[in-house]
């Protein structure tokens, strides 16, 4: 099992979200999707009230070009969004409201496409409702639950859990034995680690 910690505003999390389930299936690893927010971590860990890619424009310029290349190699559409980072609070809450339900991963992938292909405002219920429906969920139920205190508390708890694990960016991957990997370009290594540990556990089970 591998935990996939993802933030909907995060650029490199888009290619990861689109490919992780197929890559994990090929590696024989199950994935648990864990939505969280990077804003509180950037603030608490680095004193930033913006994305590090905006705080250091020279890194931002490189990132946009690199992301274009990464998506191109992965065969993924990509258009640089006109707003970055986008407010991702509501879709993160919706993803948590649907935790464990069949529609949630397809919804999450479509939120990334809304942000990084279709340049849509992912904080808007008008954007999210059709994505929930297309993924097979019920928009009224999901958006209602997303506005409820249990889901809000669960998202805060996820952010705290991420921080406790040493997470500082997205995508991050955490194995069952607590190994942390950061970045779309570490997905294969994380899956390999998770598969190896699974083998070891199986051997001694």
């Amino acid at each position: 099992m591998l935990e996939f910690w993802y933030e909907f505003a995060s650029t490199y999390s888009y290619p990861t979200a689109m490919r992780i389930d197929d890559a994990a299936a090929a590696a024989g690893v199950t994935v648990r999707w864990r939505p969280f927010l990077l804003g509180p971590l950037f603030r608490d860990q680095q004193g930033l009230d913006d994305s590090p890619f905006n705080a250091a424009p020279v890194k931002g310029r490189y990132m946009w070009r690199d992301l274009e290349r990464v998506c191109g190699e992965a065969g993924l559409a990509f258009h640089r969004p006109t707003a970055f980072p986008r407010d991702s609070l509501l879709p993160a809450r919706v993803a948590l409201a649907g935790d464990g339900q069949d529609w949630t991963r397809a919804f999450a992938r479509s939120v990334y496409e809304a942000n990084f292909v279709h340049d849509q405002d992912i904080a808007s219920p008008e954007t999210l409702a059709p994505l929930i429906a297309a993924a097979g969920g019920d928009p009224a139920t999901a958006l209602g639950a997303a506005r409820g205190e249990p889901v809000k508390a669960a998202l805060r708890a996820n952010v705290e859990e991420a921080a406790a694990h040493g997470v500082f960016g997205s995508p991050s991957f955490i194995t069952q034995d607590g190994e942390l990997f950061w970045g779309n370009d570490r997905l294969e290594q994380a899956l390999e680690w998770a598969a190896r540990r699974h083998d070891v556990q199986g051997e001694y089970a």
Copy 2:
């Protein structure tokens, strides 16, 4: 041809320095090694007077663990140095003093090993002299040239050239058509890009 921009204090540049010449030969790409300093770039671009890995300890903790994994997979010895980042001014000047000479790359690799395997002070002439000799250079000549104004000016020019190319970290790779890649984990992609461009140029030459 691919330019390899490297800073001797940089952690991820160590595995790159150890493997780039073999990887480039396998890809049919020639490499030009370009020493530079990250300190002035961190200061001018990000307002930092330290490594970003020290400025954000949560990223630093991850980096040391990740570097351990990266070196392990590459079969490279690694011991976390007791000082980081180490003053790299003198070895960078020595590398520039030897630019184009046969001993320089072996010297550069041995400086990385001094820093990240043997935990040595790479700013010390006593550390560097035997490394120059072991690589086949003349320590007195190289250290003398490293202290001369032409080499000092050449290193300042390298730093300015790096900044003009949008470099903000090490290792960085720049192709002949100006494409920038950053990080040890982008070496293969940079070589592929450089090889493809070389083919195209050959085709129309």
